[in-house]
Symmetry: C2
Subunit: 441 residues, 2 copies
């Protein structure tokens, strides 16, 4: 969001800012982002997920079939057409599944891409931002929930995170709690949205919201709060909850699902890097969850949750498909990139060698050396400006090249380069092939 305004040649002031809430990603930042995306994709692919890509815009009726009013207001319309920019990656996926009934099930897909919301921009919150979703459509088994949760944890682990906390809960169980508390079913959505904020705004504020917005009475609120306060080990929590929901078929099913999910997830190796905890205060605001819900937190940077998701067995049929169970998890990829950037002790050097010719007559040899490096897969470039040696070295430093390979008469004759580590300043004269091998390794 550069704030420059420039004077146009015709005398008009041109606004060179990116649109509010959007960003340019300059090369250094973009390289870091691409690295994160590539790691996540590699992990998802080895877990058998496949990429899907859908248009940037969709029919408004497709977009609005799922989302609440708040989100509808945030959709960027395309001119006066019936299209709007997508605000998430779940809606397009649901449309694809509904309109391709012959897709083999389970359909395991991932999608990483930008979405757009005309939200009020604030620190770390943008109008154009990337989502990274992984979903399994067509399986109602807890094995599918465990698989998406493990895939997300595996991706986080490959990104260098560890010691994360996996929090799990179940919407069927919460439904039963709401029912048992004597709250009407129609208020369940409002109750969930209020409870979801407990960590952010505190218990008192949630009580207020339950009273004012959800219109729940004092007695019912007390009942609702009970479940969020169950403490101790996951084992102890599960048995206390069993008592609370006993006799309620939906609640018992939720409890069974929760127990099974924890068991199955525990079979993945990545589970050893996680502490998996039952958290009855975990609600997740979205209305459409129908079963297991989960969140992953990392200990770093006070960023809280970096992944979240759950089962949504009733969403896809909104798009005319037969009842189709589905579960998925979304990585908070923008937040992850933020944390990684803060964590990294980066010396600003790139894996790039700049080949500098001491005089113009060695430019052709420099070019040959560049080609040798490139053939070995080592990013390399040489002067394209007819610059002298000093200016070439300044440029090499300004673009963050890790090494310079200086060539002159001596080097040309001996088919060598004088390789300088631009971080340490150390120099050595070596054969071109040795230099390439060294930088490749």
């Amino acid at each position: 969001m550069n704030s420059l305004k420039i004077s146009h040649e015709k005398g008009v002031i041109m606004n060179l800012q990116t649109p509010r809430g959007t960003r340019d990603f300059m090369p250094g930042e973009m390289e870091a982002r691409k690295g994160v995306f590539a790691t996540v994709e590699r992990v998802y692919e080895r877990c058998g997920f496949r990429p899907l890509e859908t248009p940037a815009f969709e029919e408004m009726e497709v977009l609005t079939a799922k989302c609440g009013e708040d989100v509808v207001k945030q959709i960027y319309r395309i001119g006066d057409s019936s299209y709007g920019l997508r605000f998430d990656l779940t809606v397009p996926m649901a449309r694809v599944v509904a309109s391709n009934s012959s897709l083999p099930k389970p359909f395991k897909r991932y999608q990483i891409g930008p979405v757009w919301r005309r939200d009020e921009p604030q620190k770390g919150r943008f109008r154009e931002f990337w989502q990274a979703d992984v979903d399994i459509v067509g399986s109602g088994e807890m094995a599918a929930d465990a698989e998406v949760l493990a895939a997300a944890c595996d991706a986080l682990s490959e990104l260098g995170f560890s010691g994360f906390e996996v929090r799990v809960n179940n919407r069927k169980l919460l439904d039963a709690v709401v029912e048992k508390a004597g709250v009407e079913k129609t208020k369940a959505g409002a109750v969930f949205r209020a409870l979801d904020k407990i960590e952010k705004i505190g218990e008192e504020a949630v009580r207020e919201e339950l009273k004012a917005k959800a219109r729940v009475g004092e007695k019912e609120i007390a009942k609702l709060m009970e479940v969020t306060k169950i403490s101790g080990s996951s084992q102890k929590k599960l048995s206390e909850a069993a008592g609370m929901v006993s006799g309620n078929a939906r609640g018992e099913e939720g409890l069974k699902e929760l127990t099974e999910l924890i068991y199955l997830f525990g079979k993945y190796e990545v589970a050893k890097k996680c502490s998996t905890v039952v958290d009855f205060a975990l609600v997740r605001g979205l209305d459409y969850y129908t079963g297991p819900i989960f969140e992953v937190k990392i200990p770093e940077g006070g960023v809280g949750s970096v992944a979240g998701g759950g089962r949504y067995d009733e969403l896809i049929q909104l798009y005319g498909a037969p009842p189709t169970p589905a579960t998925g998890i979304s990585l908070g990829i923008e937040r992850i990139i933020e944390v990684m950037r803060a964590r990294k002790a980066d010396d600003g050097k790139r894996r790039l060698v700049f080949v500098a010719a001491v005089k113009p007559e060695f430019r052709e040899y420099a070019m040959k050396v560049v080609e040798e490096f490139r053939k070995a897969g080592v990013p390399a470039e040489t002067d394209l400006m007819g610059r002298n040696l000093r200016k070439q070295m300044e440029y090499a430093n300004s673009i963050g090249a890790g090494f310079a390979a200086v060539v002159g008469e001596k080097e040309q004759k001996a088919a060598t380069v004088t390789l300088r580590d631009l971080a340490s300043g150390k120099e050595e004269t070596v054969a071109v092939s040795d230099a390439a091998a060294k930088l490749k390794g």
Copy 2:
């Protein structure tokens, strides 16, 4: 562009088509596209180019500063805002350069991403399509033109193409030809746009257009046509052209640039895979080219040009920057993907192993085996539906798995799998680690 319309639960018919001229990329297709993008990026990176990413939409005044009326009409506006979806990747790059005056020069960047044009969709032409641009900003040297041209050819070569024809020309030379033919300078743009079509619509139609649209007289047309007919070797063409433009400073400069570009490009190894020809009929329609222009053709599929570009030294200053030389080339990535798809003899098998449990009690062992494969980097998955063996094998085939690893009592006891090649049907029972090593290789 699925044509399904579905009946909404509320009785409304929902349109599940993607918007006109846009596409879903299903997993198989998306994997192929991602492979192409990754190859191009790898080549560009080893040539020292760096990624840039910019927002999907820009201020309309930024978008329209460069483009002609035809393109303005094709811009998708965002609601009633001052924004529009980008229609190419050059405009955003020019804005970034103009608003970041401290960028080290030359600035070597690549960008691959979608652009949007409300054009009339037709075979192979879409309203949302991907561009792959590579540009060097800040160098006026022919070495920069040779570098972008070589990078593009290198990318095509890595994609498996060969025997391509590189056609080069120079706008300064064409300017001189137009001037020498006695055509007013103001008509040059219209003349170039007409000449650009010579291969597509033939000489007669071009003569008609020059007469009707560019309002050029018969005598001048005859002169203009002369240069397009110069034939023979590039060497012979260059010397004939020298005669035509002699005494015209701009023409002589263009000729010198053309000669130098051919020389410098010839120093790259990839030039050996190309036949580089001077083509005075090569014009390239865009008004903003100022020097060398080039195009790359492949012999396959009758698709013609798969890359094209040139030097545009006057574009970036439109955005308020000081005069900034620049050159670049754009890969026709959609066309390339099309040709590659037609070329590939694909058996539809993926590098994926499906681990099938013969009975439910071996599902946990199957899961362990899956983890072994994944750890080795081999994409693997197992049943998430509680299916019997036959159904599991059907699923494995339906998703194009290359191998199935069947596990039962015998395998569990011996820590082995029975590995079946799903293309050939061949089976062998091997240790899990051996199976992983085999599929990894």
